[in-house]
C-alpha cells in the first residue's frame, strides 16, 4: 500500500485502519439491486396483464426496451460505485503519533483532520441494536481536551471496541513517558530543595 498521501513523519507508522462496516455499503447495494430489477418486474407484469395485442407491440420493440434498460443499468452501476468510493475512502488511520481522520463526504467534498494522542480526553463506543451487536459495528467518538475543538466521530465503524483499545494503547504510550519524566523531574527538584 502507498501511504505517501498521508505525509507521515519519518518514524511514524500506521497501526490500524478504521473503516465503516461493510453492512453500510450492503444497504446501498440492495437499493441498487432493487432499482435494477424493478423495470424487469414492471416489464413482465405489463406483458402479463395488458391485452395480447398491446403486449405484442411492446415485444416488437424489444431492442428499444433493451437499450433504455441498459442505460438505466449503467446509471445505477455508476451511482453504486460513487457510493462505494465515498464509503471506502471514509477512513481513520491510527498511527503511532496521531489519528488521521479522512472524511469523504462526497465525490468533491473531502476533509482531512489530525488528532494528536496527547489531546485525546476520552473515547466512546456506542453499539446499539441487535444487528449492530451481532455484526460488531457501532459509533466511535473521540473527545478532545482542548476547548472549542470538535469531537471526532465515525458512525457504523467495524469492530469499534478494537479501535478504542488501540487508541488507548497508543495514547498511553505517548502520555506515560512524559508523565514519568515530569514525576522524575519534580522528584529531582524536591530533592534539591
Amino acid at each position: 500500500m502507498v501511504f505517501s498521501q498521508l505525509e507521515l513523519q519519518p518514524q511514524e507508522t500506521i497501526v490500524l485502519e478504521v473503516r465503516k462496516h461493510w453492512i453500510v455499503f450492503i444497504g446501498h447495494a440492495i437499493f441498487s439491486f432493487i432499482a435494477a430489477v424493478l423495470p424487469l418486474v414492471a416489464y413482465t407484469l405489463l406483458l402479463v396483464f395488458v391485452p395480447r395485442t398491446v403486449a405484442q407491440q411492446i415485444i416488437s420493440h424489444f431492442f428499444l426496451t433493451l437499450f433504455v434498460y441498459s442505460l438505466w443499468l449503467l446509471l445505477i452501476w455508476v451511482v453504486l460505485f460513487i457510493r462505494w468510493t465515498n464509503y471506502y475512502l471514509d477512513v481513520w488511520y491510527i498511527t503511532t503519533e496521531r489519528i488521521i481522520d479522512i472524511d469523504q463526504k462526497g465525490v468533491f467534498h473531502r476533509e482531512i483532520s489530525n488528532l494528536r494522542f496527547d489531546r485525546i480526553q476520552d473515547v466512546t463506543v456506542e453499539v446499539s441494536g441487535v444487528v449492530a451487536t451481532f455484526f460488531k459495528f457501532g459509533n466511535l467518538r473521540v473527545q478532545t481536551a482542548a476547548e472549542n475543538s470538535k469531537d471526532y466521530t465515525m458512525n457504523n465503524v467495524s469492530h469499534p471496541e478494537h479501535a478504542r483499545t488501540i487508541i488507548f494503547e497508543m495514547h498511553n504510550k505517548k502520555i506515560r513517558p512524559s508523565h514519568i519524566e515530569v514525576a522524575k523531574s519534580s522528584e529531582g527538584t524536591d530533592g534539591l530543595r
Binding site: F63, L64, F67, S70, L74, V78, I102
Partner: protein
C-alpha cells in the same frame, strides 16, 4: 384497467390512422437519431464520472487490493452494459 388500455390503444390508432409500430416506423429515422444522441450524452457523462472515480481511486485509494479489484469489476461490467446498449441500438 384492461378496458381503459384498450380504449387508449383504439384512440391512438384512430388518431394516427395506423398501429403503434406504424407510428414508430414512420418516425424511425428521427427516433434512431434521438436514441444515438441520448446514448452519446449518457456515454460522455459516464466517461467524466469514470475519470473522477479513477482520480479518487488513484489519489486517495492508497493502492489497496480492494481498489484494484473495484477497478476491474467496474470496467468489466461497464463494458458489458455499454456493449449491450450499442448492440440494441444497431438493431432498433
Amino acid at each position: 384497467m384492461t378496458s381503459m388500455l384498450l380504449a387508449t390503444t383504439t384512440a391512438v390508432r384512430s388518431a394516427f390512422g395506423h398501429s403503434w409500430s406504424g407510428v414508430l416506423n414512420t418516425a424511425d429515422l428521427s427516433l434512431k437519431n434521438i436514441l444515438w444522441a441520448i446514448f452519446t450524452v449518457v456515454f460522455i457523462v459516464y466517461v467524466i464520472t469514470t475519470l473522477v472515480l479513477l482520480f479518487h481511486w488513484r489519489q486517495y485509494g492508497m493502492g489497496t487490493k480492494r481498489i484494484v479489484a473495484a477497478k476491474i469489476i467496474y470496467f468489466f461490467v461497464s463494458i458489458i452494459i455499454i456493449a449491450v446498449a450499442l448492440f440494441s441500438l444497431f438493431f432498433i
